[in-house]
Structure formats: C-alpha cells, structure tokens
Point group: C2
Chain length 237, copies 2
Amino acid sequence: MTLLKAIDLAGPAISRLSALAPLQPADIALLKTAMTRCQRIPARREFVTEGNPVGQAILMVSGWACRVRTLSDGRRQILSLFLPGDLICAHRERPIALATVLALTDVTICHVPFRAELEPGSRLGEAYGVSGMLDEAYLLAQITRLGRFSAYERFADLLLELHERLTLAGIAMDRQFPLPLTQEALADMLGLTSVHVNRTLQLMRREGTVTVGGGIATLHDVEGLAGLVDYRRARVA
Amino acid sequence: MTLLKAIDLAGPAISRLSALAPLQPADIALLKTAMTRCQRIPARREFVTEGNPVGQAILMVSGWACRVRTLSDGRRQILSLFLPGDLICAHRERPIALATVLALTDVTICHVPFRAELEPGSRLGEAYGVSGMLDEAYLLAQITRLGRFSAYERFADLLLELHERLTLAGIAMDRQFPLPLTQEALADMLGLTSVHVNRTLQLMRREGTVTVGGGIATLHDVEGLAGLVDYRRARVA
DNA sequence: CGACGGTTTGACAATCATCAAATACAGTGG
DNA sequence: CCACTGTATTTGATGATTGTCAAACCGTCG
C-alpha cells in the first residue's frame, strides 16, 4: 500500500534525478526504498528552519516549496523554489539551514543520504552534484531577474525556467505546466506586489504570450519570451 | 623575493581562512606554497568564462572581483563579489563555470586544490566548506536586497555585509573599509542606475549615516543601518 | 448562507530610470 | 608644468514603472 503509493509518486523525482545522471538499478532501489518512508507536509508549513541543523538531506517527491526570508516589517522574499525531484540541503557537510523552507502547496518529501554518505563514484552522487550546480544556477538567474528585469521580463524568465525544470521532472506538457502558486506567492518570488503581478499577467494574456490561471501556465510564444530575456537553457551536462 | 612578496600579501587570505576553521601548520604551509605562484590580473579582465571548465580552484589573494551576467542589450548584473581570501569554484567537482568572473580592480590570485583533492578531515577542507556556505548565504542576501529593499536599504545591507566580510579578512578598520568600486559597479551590483547610486550616496552622507568616497566607506551608524534592514551577522560556526 | 482566501479594479503617490550636460579627476605626452 | 584625453562623478528636468490604499468581486467550503 505504502509502497504502491511510493511508486505512483516516484515518477517526477526519479525522472528528474535520472535525467541528471544515468542512475543504476542500485541507485533507483535506494531512492524507492527511501520513498517508502515519505512524509506529508501541509501547505503553509515551514519544515526547515533557518539556523537549525538539518539531520538528513531531503528529496522533494511532490508539491512545491520554497526558501523564504521574512523581514521584521512583514516583507517577504522567496529566494528559490523547490519542485518535485529537487534536493534540499544535500551537498553541505555541515548542514545548518541557511534559510527557512516553506511548503507552498501540500508537499511530500522523503529523507535521503547526504552527498558525503553515498558511495563515492556512485551515479546518484553524480546526480547530486549536477543538482547542486543547477541550484546555484537558479539562484544566479533569480539575481539577474530581480536586479535587471522589468516585471514583464521577470515573468517571462521565471516561466521559462519553470517550464524547463518541470520538463526535467516529466511534469509539463508541450508548452503548458502546473503553476500552483497564488499571485501573492509569485509577487514574493519576483519582488513585486500582488497587485502588480495581477496587472502584468493580464497584460501578458492580452498580448497573447502567456496565460496563467487555474493553477496552469501556458506559454503561447516560447521563442518570443526567450528572446526578450535572452534565455539560455541551463546545460545539464 | 617572490616568497617575500607572497608573505606580504598572505595576510588577508590566510587571515580569512583561518577564521573559518582553525588551520594547522600544514594547511598554512600549503597555502603559502600556493601563493608563491601568484598570478596578477589587471582590472576589467575576465579571468573565468561562463560555460568553460575551471582547471583548479582559485584563491583571491588581493583585489576585488565579481561574477557578472551581461545581457545582449548591454544591461549588466553583478551576481556576487569576491574579496581577498574568498575561494572561487572550490566546491564543485564538475567545475564548469556558471558565470563569468571579472576583475573589478587589479587582482592577485593563486591556484589551490579543489575541495575533493584535499586530505579528508583536513582543517583546510573545513574552511572550504564554511566558505562555501558563506558564498551561498551571500547569494541569498543579494536576492533579498534586490527583491525587497529600497535603494537606500540596499546600500545599508551591502555595506554591512562588506564590513563583515572585510573584517574577517583583517582588512577594515573599526567602522571604515576600502571600497574600490566605481558608482557604476555599485549600480550593477545593486540593480540601480549609476545616477541613482550617486543620489543615494549623497542622501546617506547628508543624513550622516554613511560616507563613501575616495575608495573608502565609513559607516557612522552601524546600529541604525543594521536596524533598517534587520541585518543578521552570518554565523561562521 | 456566511466567511474566507484569492483575484480584480481604480485612483493616486513614490521610487527610480532616462536623457543630456556640466564638472571634477587622473594619467599622458609635449 | 601645462594642455589634453578619457573616465568618473555630479546636477537638472522629465517620465515610466511600480507601489499603496481601498474596495469590489469571485469561488469554495463548512
């Protein structure tokens, strides 16, 4: 029962990790075993706290989460997103959380070994390494978005990134993917207000480039969006 | 001669690394040896290129550098700064540069082993680890700065960070430190225009909180600045 | 039905960008 | 030592983007 469920859910996480490095049967077995002990976390719950030690690495099995920083006056900034198949705190050997991690939707996670605990040379270890590089690449992308892009461009760039990442995980149709974020969460991600997010999304819809609504995003003009922000696909290899 | 020079310059880099983890004589010897083969890089020169492999880890011995992303229309964003004692590309085992690294001043670097090449358990390896954590913490700080802070606050936050980092390296007097960046570089770091940087700096001077000029920054009211952005010192331990 | 979270709309204000030019500064060569 | 050149800083006038405040609307769930 639990195992069955784990296999159902296994799709995105295993799909992503094997896209990062060609996993071997042993690696997949390890992951599937870990996924028999999944943990469900309700939306809005913080499951990692800044400054606290992290006992084990975490694998996102389903749902969306984020790292967030909240200021004393209530302003919030989402630092990065965690999607199915993403690893949390996997590569730091002294694992003190640098930021709070918050579930944006209901989330399923499972605990997995730290990088250092894997057999050296294992394919899974390689996947960890690539995953870490991508994490950093996404942080850098977030910095340019916030520093140099207009509201419209920020959306274009973020949606392209999400499309790419969700494609890796096997979620995402041709030019369509789930986007279970409120406009307020998008605002906190993009450094805008929710009012301005709303207006920007309306503009994009009117222009026919992007439709966001009902938990789904549709990119009608991937080329155009990519040109706008000279988007470069993060190379996996 | 070369050795003498290395020892002269050794201060900041060794000071920083031994502040991150208590280095042992062997570690320091390794570093000093590495520093006998220093390399000078003139300002404005890119010495790491995005997408290219990086042969060895790099230790900043003197000068300031940054990771930068340039868009096709000329907009630039500085992603992070590298100060004396900082390590570049030290912790990725598949070292493909995620961003171009540019010398902002004349810079001295030397090549050092990758993390994985150090003896396991070495103190220096520990310092590498802490340095990597700090790198990431600074990226996250940069994201909140750009996403949620006003121009004035961005400066407050950045200057506090620089003060802290330069103190680690033993550069930085009580509330004063070298800031060899042009206003345009500051603008590219903070996601502003150089004109607005200029006006913000004037405002800060008029208010008596901060003086920036002649390559030196002076913080006249550290408490006030820290309160403004609820600055938390990055914990090293 | 009522309550609640989320989206949408409008009117207005503030921050920051843009453009263009003046000024200061540093290094170079006569 | 001085003009000369290029880069960096400063100033002013104007406009665009985005934020703020407040209220209406909408859908879902108990």
